[in-house]
Symmetry: C2
């Protein structure tokens, strides 16, 4: 079979339903807890923060397939199906017998897969009659995606952007502003939690955890406003399942099945989406595909974190999730892969990893950029630093195949483009980039802040 | 017929031949002249500057179809066929009865159509055994495209980047450097012509004309090196014909034929490519499609220039082309559409315009950005300022249809994305953008420098 370079599905092949992986998990992730009581959150707990339909999706562990609303699917037509690409030129450059495929989610203005969930979330908010939304953004891809969807569905939006990213990426800010959203670098003085964080860490470059706290506070204190989140949550993995469903349809069309699936993992939205239907096969014992999460060595939640209940934010105002975490007070170094600098990990992915269905590796950023530059020269695509983590591991696995002679089929997620990350590329090219690995003592300090759920429960009973 | 949002051809539908429009022109453009003699250039005149195969293509007015070399077509597979998009959402927002289509050339890392010619030019240079190339770049899209192709085919490259653009777009520079090319802001002290220009205009922000002079000087003074150009030339329009061939194949597949074709025009590479096969129909009397070139009011070569022999560069070291020109000494204002700031226009397009086969309009940049922002909000794509000139006129034509009730079919070229032009978008959003229209006196001053070909001829005979 003559496999084209780009395997491009037709518009009619855009999925009509998302896939909810929880319906097929042998064991469910532990429930999300209300920090006031230590008890599982209810729909009533969530709806003041999230829009109702999204809150329902968050709690729905049984509905296997959920219809994609018509207007969301219409919106998807502007950038989906995204191409599955056979990396012929990278294979040749590596001299590997492995076949390398990547699902490229960067061919839209947000530059990433984030638009898949953004469109859905803004649509549901509009349907509910809300007038504004708040969110946080790290690297800026989620903020861009959400501003695009908000512009399209005519919804006001305030984006709390991690200060370090906002300063590194003025043009990313400008894109978000072009689509009409307000940007506030975080931590800021616009919220109580922001002011408190600034008081304690006046020179902080911020983190996703801080920005989440601020966005949530702003949402609950503004009438007819809700908070939306671009990763970590079950609802986001649900929407992102479209990546995996399309990948499988495209690979099926050329009679391919991956031996290894690789994705970068910050909060887990891309990886959770990419593996979706393939993990379904694996959970049902139909395949023995290896699933590999790739995280930065500077923020190693899966590989060096604890599997414990923790807050999703630094300000400790969100519900608690049981997940792999470095502790909500962990402040990652000013790494360039802003989108992977999150202390926790999707509870679904954490559970799959904990139960042995998934592997995880951590990689150092200089090796990541080395891979990204090589990839660009041979495959023409300039990857986002986040996505380049997956490229690094895909190359490593392909080189392993070269050693062993195995003709494995590798699929990785190329989540986005790096046009707004050129400062990082310049720093790498100039030899000014350093690697950072937190010490055990630093991690221990982070773990000290993990909440004691038992104590919460007894305290609330008093 | 249910027309999808994105009309996506298959890989096998990538054209196997380029189309040479000169073979069908009733009258040929006047020949390119050797400035030393005032006589038509020969292959021998061109080959010290251009690589041989490209020089042959430059002079070939009769071969209607030219085979695309296998490795170039292989390279095209990484980003072609590019999508033809039905702007359903823009149509709806405008409330127009017109059907609007755009051929989107921005879905590759160079962010534009420039990669079509870059791949061909680097390939031919490699085949000839050259070891390095030089070029100029304005907005940076050509420089990026060429650096990508040079990295892939393993060829050294020096890019003279218009100083204003280089300063406005540090991240564009970083992309070019990531692909391994050397960048020199122009005018520079690395060439005689650069030093002379700097002496006369020490604070100049440069122009494409200056940068061309420097790149040519560098090429002819470096062993085994040649100069390549991203627009204006016949060879470039030949390579870019792939845009039009694909557009026609895609529109044919949905039984559509454009009443109006619109493209932005700086040197003419995109417009010449977009109209190619449609102009063939028109020249043969098979259609009455209107072709509209859109240029910035600040640099109006077609609408206010002279149809005359002129140098292609500021330093007056290139051959003379008969074209619409503002004079090689015309220094355009620091407009944001760097890619359209060129004093001349493709000789082929100039001839077609002169003979009445094509129209031209000029638009002001604030109106261009207004259109670009509207387009982004409804179609999700953030256009390059250059491309947005075509959007402006497409919207204007669609609004005219709204008035008259005519259901016209409009096709425009969306040549590229604006990720590296966010400074311009920010300036527009902040209300800090101004329009500039050169006065008649300014234009007259430019025309004073037009060379006297008769004088050249008699002088060379003495």
């Amino acid at each position: 079979m003559n496999i084209p370079y780009r395997i491009q599905l037709d518009e009619e092949q855009i999925p009509t339903q998302w896939y909810n992986i929880r319906a097929d998990m042998p064991e469910q992730p532990d429930p999300c807890l209300n920090p006031a009581t230590g008890l599982p959150v209810t729909l009533e707990d969530l709806t003041p923060v999230f829009c109702e339909e999204l809150a329902k999706q968050e709690l729905d562990a049984t509905t296997r397939y959920i219809d994609i609303p018509g207007p969301v699917r219409e919106y998807y037509k502007m950038f989906r199906p995204s191409p599955l690409i056979r990396a012929y030129n990278l294979e040749k450059a590596l001299g590997t017998p492995a076949k390398i495929y990547y699902k490229f989610e960067g061919n839209n203005t947000s530059g990433s897969h984030k638009l898949n969930s953004a469109a859905a979330q803004v649509y549901y908010a509009k349907e509910q009659g809300l007038t504004s939304l708040t969110t946080e953004t790290g690297a800026g891809q989620w903020g861009t995606a959400l501003s695009m969807a908000a512009a399209f569905f005519d919804m006001d939006l305030t984006v709390y952007m991690v200060r370090g990213s906002a300063e590194q990426k003025p043009y990313r800010r400008a894109v978000i502003e072009t689509f009409g959203a307000d940007i506030i670098p975080s931590p800021s003085k616009t919220t109580e939690v922001g002011r408190a964080i600034l008081k304690e860490h006046p020179n902080t470059s911020g983190s996703l955890g801080c920005a989440i706290s601020e966005a949530v506070e702003k949402a609950v204190s503004t009438p007819n406003c809700r908070y939306v989140l671009g990763s970590v949550l079950n609802q986001v993995l649900l929407h992102q399942s479209i990546i995996g469903i399309e990948s499988k349809a495209a690979m099926d069309s050329i009679d391919e099945y991956p031996d290894i699936i690789i994705g970068c993992a910050g909060g887990g939205s891309n990886l959770g989406g990419l593996i979706s239907t393939y993990m379904q096969d694996s959970l049902k014992g139909k395949s023995d595909t290896r699933f590999i999460a790739v995280e930065p060595a500077s923020c190693p939640s899966l590989t060096r974190g604890r599997y414990a209940y923790d807050y999703c934010d630094t300000g400790k105002i969100t519900p608690l999730e049981r997940m792999y975490t470095l502790g909500s007070q962990f402040m990652p170094s000013a790494d360039h892969a802003g989108g992977l600098r999150y202390h926790g990990m999707s509870p679904i992915l954490s559970k799959l990893y904990h139960d042995g269905y998934m592997e995880a590796v951590s990689v150092q950023q200089t090796k990541v950029f080395e891979a990204a530059v090589m990839f660009a020269k041979h495959e023409t695509i300039l990857a986002a630093p986040e996505s380049a983590h997956a490229i690094r591991t895909a190359i490593d696995e392909a080189l392993l195949c070269k050693k062993t002679g195995e003709e494995k089929t590798i699929l990785f997620g190329l989540t986005g483009t790096g046009y707004f990350d050129m400062q990082a590329y310049s720093s790498y090219l100039a030899g000014g980039m350093t690697d950072y690995i937190p010490s055990d003592a630093e991690l221990e300090a982070g773990f000290c802040h993990l909440p004691n759920v038992e104590l919460m429960r007894s305290a609330s009973k008093v």
